[in-house]
């Protein structure tokens, strides 16, 4: 089984579980509090993933060592690239 199929299987399993709890498809009559926690779950997972990515990026920005020569070289390359593109007609 390919990785894609494995992922799709896992996602659809979790999705079915979530739909079961949220829309009460089997009439399990769970307590209201558990249903209230369950229905925003997909959005909650999305937002926590976003927060994790933001925190990782921020942390790596804060702890990355300064490299003076690399920074100067990069500025030079940016200027060259802008000139090149301007000659070829792209306007930013």
């Amino acid at each position: 089984m390919t990785k894609l199929l494995q992922w799709l299987l896992a996602v659809s399993l979790l999705g079915a579980l979530w739909a079961l709890v949220t829309f009460d498809l089997l009439d399990l009559s769970l307590p209201q509090t558990y249903r209230e926690v369950a229905w925003p779950m997909p959005f909650y997972l999305l937002i926590s993933f976003g927060c994790y990515s933001l925190a990782t990026v921020g942390y790596r920005v804060a702890t990355f060592n300064d490299c003076e020569e690399a920074a100067k070289e990069l500025q030079e390359q940016i200027k060259e690239a802008k000139e090149d593109l301007r000659r070829k007609g792209l306007k930013i």
């Binding site: 509090t33 209230e36 959005f43 937002i47 933001l54 921020g58 790596r60 804060a62 702890t63």
Partner: protein
């Protein structure tokens, strides 16, 4: 270690995402288990907004990306030459 603005920007990103994560977690997970007359409910909007507000933010993000693309493509359209 990075210096100056880099460190400040990075750390503020980390703090912001931690605050957002904590607030959202309390909103979604903790609040249903808390009695409805507890003072904590005063600090949180009704539950539907916990889905609507991120949805609106996502739509605004997509609109900004689309607008940027449109502006760049507009500036680079080549008018047809008339002989």
């Amino acid at each position: 270690m990075a210096t100056g603005v880099d460190q400040a920007a990075g750390m503020s990103l980390v703090v912001f995402s931690l605050v957002l994560f904590t607030y959202y977690s309390v909103w979604v997970i903790v609040l249903p288990f808390v009695d409805s007359d507890h003072f904590l409910h005063k600090y949180f909007l009704p539950r539907e907004y916990s889905v609507i507000l991120p949805g609106i933010a996502a739509v605004i993000l997509l609109i900004c990306i689309g607008a940027f693309t449109v502006v760049i493509m507009w500036k680079n359209r080549k008018p047809k030459k008339v002989d």
